[in-house]
């Protein structure tokens, strides 16, 4: 793993102490750290080419537009879209899902229609659909999670994909359970019934190779900040056919073809969905992040994540009284747990004093928490800049915590 160690030098933030202890950052599922290359790409843009895009003729504007559209091309390549026009820049996963709900959803759902979700969805893939259901009279249904092993109950899938279902939206990787869902299979089964699919790729993008055509989904949404990119930028992939038929999202500059006092016509895709000045530097940072990850190799990152999480999971499972969530094998680099009766907040507070950045709470998965019969969990999430020593240290600190609370 020595190649991996060298990569750590690209992340200046990791070389710090927190409460006098070396920082061990195990909160990548919330947001990842950023390599220097990403920060430099944005700085370079601001110091050399900064200008608004699309509407300009002068040299800086030409360069900014080229760089912004090159970022779109790069993003299209990253998820293997058919063409760059299938990429809409958003603030992040959440905005991408809301965009689909407010455009495709409003246009296509009627009272009685069903939106199928799964019980392991993030609030970002639940609440927009609840709001849409409220607006259109559609209903929600859920594919169940089987239990602590964090798998979806596939036996019921075909029953649930009934004739009233118009949309099936699901996460690729659970941000709480670390489950990797068989998304290509979901899409194939849904497509047979003519059901539109949306993949929440917040936790898979940047963690494994991602191929929207191979998955066969209609929409896919992810965030830049969870894959070494900056905050405030993400992408929504949509099949051109659907995008063409959709009404626009927000109104404003750039998304119009022509504006009159009393009516307007819309620009072509993807611009129809990108009103106003976009996060130009954010797109450029995203481009640099995708290049950075590609240089490492997404399959390598997936392997590394899995090895590290598998190692930690196994060691953690030997702690007395621990309750681990999610599948035992074939999992992603996210591990949720309860340390006996110690509340997640208390675990995370003590861990922080040892330099460990963990997360504790409902992880924006409240319905799942209720299903599992817990209020919250503690969570460690690994990325390629984490290593075995950090996993070992995590287990040691968990032991300290048990000792501290006398459990």
């Amino acid at each position: 793993m020595s190649g991996w160690e060298k990569l750590r030098d690209d992340f200046p933030i990791l070389a710090q102490r927190v409460h006098g202890q070396p920082l061990i950052y195990l909160d990548g599922a919330a947001t990842t750290q950023k390599p220097r290359a990403v920060l430099e790409a944005m700085d370079r843009f601001y110091q050399e080419d900064n200008s608004n895009v699309h509407r300009g003729i002068h040299e800086l504007s030409r360069r900014a537009t080229l760089a912004f559209e090159a970022a779109r091309d790069r993003t299209a390549k990253f998820i293997n879209a058919r063409e760059s026009a299938e990429i809409i820049f958003t603030r992040g996963t959440t905005e991408g899902i809301n965009l689909v709900a407010n455009t495709w959803g409003v246009k296509n759902l009627k009272p009685g229609d069903v939106i199928l979700l799964t019980e392991m969805e993030h609030h970002s893939n639940i609440v927009p659909w609840q709001m849409l259901a409220e607006r259109t009279g559609a209903k929600l249904a859920y594919l169940p999670v089987t239990g602590d092993d964090g798998l979806l109950d596939l036996k019921h899938l075909d029953d649930l994909l009934g004739p009233k279902v118009k949309l099936f939206a699901f996460t690729h990787i659970s941000n709480t359970l670390g489950t990797i869902n068989p998304v290509a299979e979901f899409c194939a089964r849904a497509r047979k019934q003519g059901i539109v699919t949306l993949v929440d790729a917040a936790q898979s993008a940047g963690h494994r190779p991602l191929d929207a055509q191979e998955i066969g989904c209609d929409f896919l949404s992810f965030s830049g900040h969870k894959l070494c990119g900056p905050t405030g930028i993400g992408a929504l992939y949509g099949r051109r056919e659907l995008l063409e038929a959709m009404s626009p999202y927000q109104g404003g500059g750039d998304m119009i073809s022509s504006v009159d006092f009393f009516q307007s016509s819309w620009n072509s895709v993807p611009h129809k969905f990108e009103a106003g000045t976009p996060n130009i530097a954010g797109a450029i940072g995203l481009h640099a992040a995708l290049d950075y990850l590609a240089a490492i190799g997404l399959d390598q990152i997936a392997k590394h994540d899995a090895e590290l999480a598998g190692y930690a999971f196994e060691k953690m499972s030997r702690l007395p009284g621990i309750r681990l969530f999610g599948p035992k094998g074939g999992r992603a680099g996210v591990i949720s747990f309860m340390l006996g009766n110690i509340h997640a907040h208390d675990v995370v507070t003590v861990a922080d004093q040892y330099g460990l950045a963990l997360r504790g709470g409902h992880h924006c998965n409240q319905p799942l928490m209720r299903k599992l019969g817990v209020e919250s969990t503690a969570r460690a999430s690994f990325y390629f800049y984490n290593n075995m020593e950090e996993a070992d240290r995590l287990v040691e600190v968990l032991k300290e915590i048990q000792r501290f609370f006398g459990e």
Partner: protein
Amino acid sequence: MLAELNELYQQAILRHSRHPQNFRALPEADRTAVGNNPLCGDHYTVFLKLADEQIVDLSFTGAGCAVSKAAGSLMTETLKGKTVSEARNLADNYNAMLRTGEVDEQLGESQSLAGVHHFPTRIKCALLPWEAMRAALNSSTKEVSTQEVAG
């Protein structure tokens, strides 16, 4: 490091979190309110029994971390027998203590939560039952919605 942790998780706090006092519903309560922290899902219900302007009994139920549960337990001990206006003042003093670390003797056992001020991300935990209590005092109805007291 461990010094601050030990100050936060004092014996009194660990004891009260494991064996909270007055941790039950109060069916004959005059006032009830729910306190909910939307960021972590912790939630408590506080029950108050008033006679004239005095809190003659109070209790709480719910779930949360050691800090919030101990805070709830200690709060019930601090406030029992206090007048409504005393309780409001104590809530202000308690709030100030969590932010500055300066203790106020009037807070009685609840002073053991002063160590929270070293842990600003935990202040909300220590406040949660108190905020629910304050909402209960302010409510004319028996229940306030969670948003009203959401951190």
